[in-house]
Symmetry: C2
Subunit: 229 residues, 2 copies
Amino acid sequence: MKARLIGVGRATLAQEARAEIERMITEGELKAGEKLNELDLSIVMGVSRGTVREAIRSLAGSGLVDLIANRGAFVHETTLAEVQNLYELRGAIFAMACGAAARRFAAGEERGLAEALSRNIEKMDAARETDDQSTYYALNIEFHDLLMAAADNPKAKAVYDNIKREMHLFRRKGLSLASNIARSLDEHRVIADAVTAGDEAAARDAANEHIRRGFDRYMTIAARDRQTG
Amino acid sequence: MKARLIGVGRATLAQEARAEIERMITEGELKAGEKLNELDLSIVMGVSRGTVREAIRSLAGSGLVDLIANRGAFVHETTLAEVQNLYELRGAIFAMACGAAARRFAAGEERGLAEALSRNIEKMDAARETDDQSTYYALNIEFHDLLMAAADNPKAKAVYDNIKREMHLFRRKGLSLASNIARSLDEHRVIADAVTAGDEAAARDAANEHIRRGFDRYMTIAARDRQTG
DNA sequence: CATATGTTGATTGTTGACAAAATAAACCGG
DNA sequence: CCGGTTTATTTTGTCAACAATCAACATATG
């Protein structure tokens, strides 16, 4: 038998509404700090207010919007201090995940991991040579996801994904992506080596350092952008 | 089923409904895996189904209930593997927070912290001598909250609180609290010393170790309970 | 007897209407 | 013109009814 699965990912209207509002936010149609009007959104999307309301509540759970009782929902405004907090939290979780991945790899519970990591690194090396930013971006996410998956900690992954979403949201604010392919690639190699050596502590430290340096790169670019306008 | 009638407070009804359902879950009136019937709950609490629905969605955001589209909401069943995941995630966040607290203390941004920590430790020492479990429990939470607050990372604190809630939920399942006042107190002293010495790395390591040992204590008790009961 | 197919009651998803609160506008004395 | 008060209007919070979906049972079919 062969038939396409229907309605995948769109189980309920509220979920679709959530996805659509999230898109509007991440693509900048709804700017940071802007108020979300339930009625307007319901009309634009062609669903009832209750459905929109449910979607908004769901977004609030992921930290993308802030709710104030009796006053409404507002697109979350991410401050610089909060970006630092997010980086630090992300680093802590990613470091833990890399440590767990190293432990699991050493126990033989993550067979394909070594190949997957080295393949990713090879491809990123190619992207570095051609300076292919968009490919690098995708591979970078893949690298982190590989390790988060290898940690086998769904809860941590869920939190990590939320953080990623919120940080992505801040990028909209105008700052360019803090990327330095060569440096990042070197750090990835150190992490991958530690993990595939089964060295839990080294993996943790390398991962922590990677995120910390990512934040430094980000701050450097942020400072430069602010200066040049 | 029995639930307090709500609706006299000042917050929104949905918020009160959420608090009430959360209470029912944490106090075991609603058991793990049990289905939450919107209509029944709405009748028992004297509010409309929509309000109950909103409350349930909110609880899902905190991981206390699982939602399945078109089928309903179920009290989250925490498995042993998940408890391990939660402990590990909690450890990572708490370690990060202690590191941040050490850094902030060294920078003179957390003046009252040293006194607050030593006061807490003194009181816990007294609780140890009288073997006062409930006081110990409260002081233990206070100790962790002091450091989470000193980290000045609201996002991390929010995630931490959610984890705490979910772990507390699992305790309901029958296992006694994994507490060894003397050991825990020693570990607290190490953490406090590292933080007030401004040693970020030492604080991180001590905190991580503290949570890890907490998990070991938990596992020991869990194994014993499974054997005898 | 086992499996597939209809049928029914219960439960969730969605909607539009009403009530309460907050914001905007009109008013008014100085 | 201004600051404060009062009145409209808008917006959110809550509710009850309708539609879609599901779980369980009953029935048919080979």
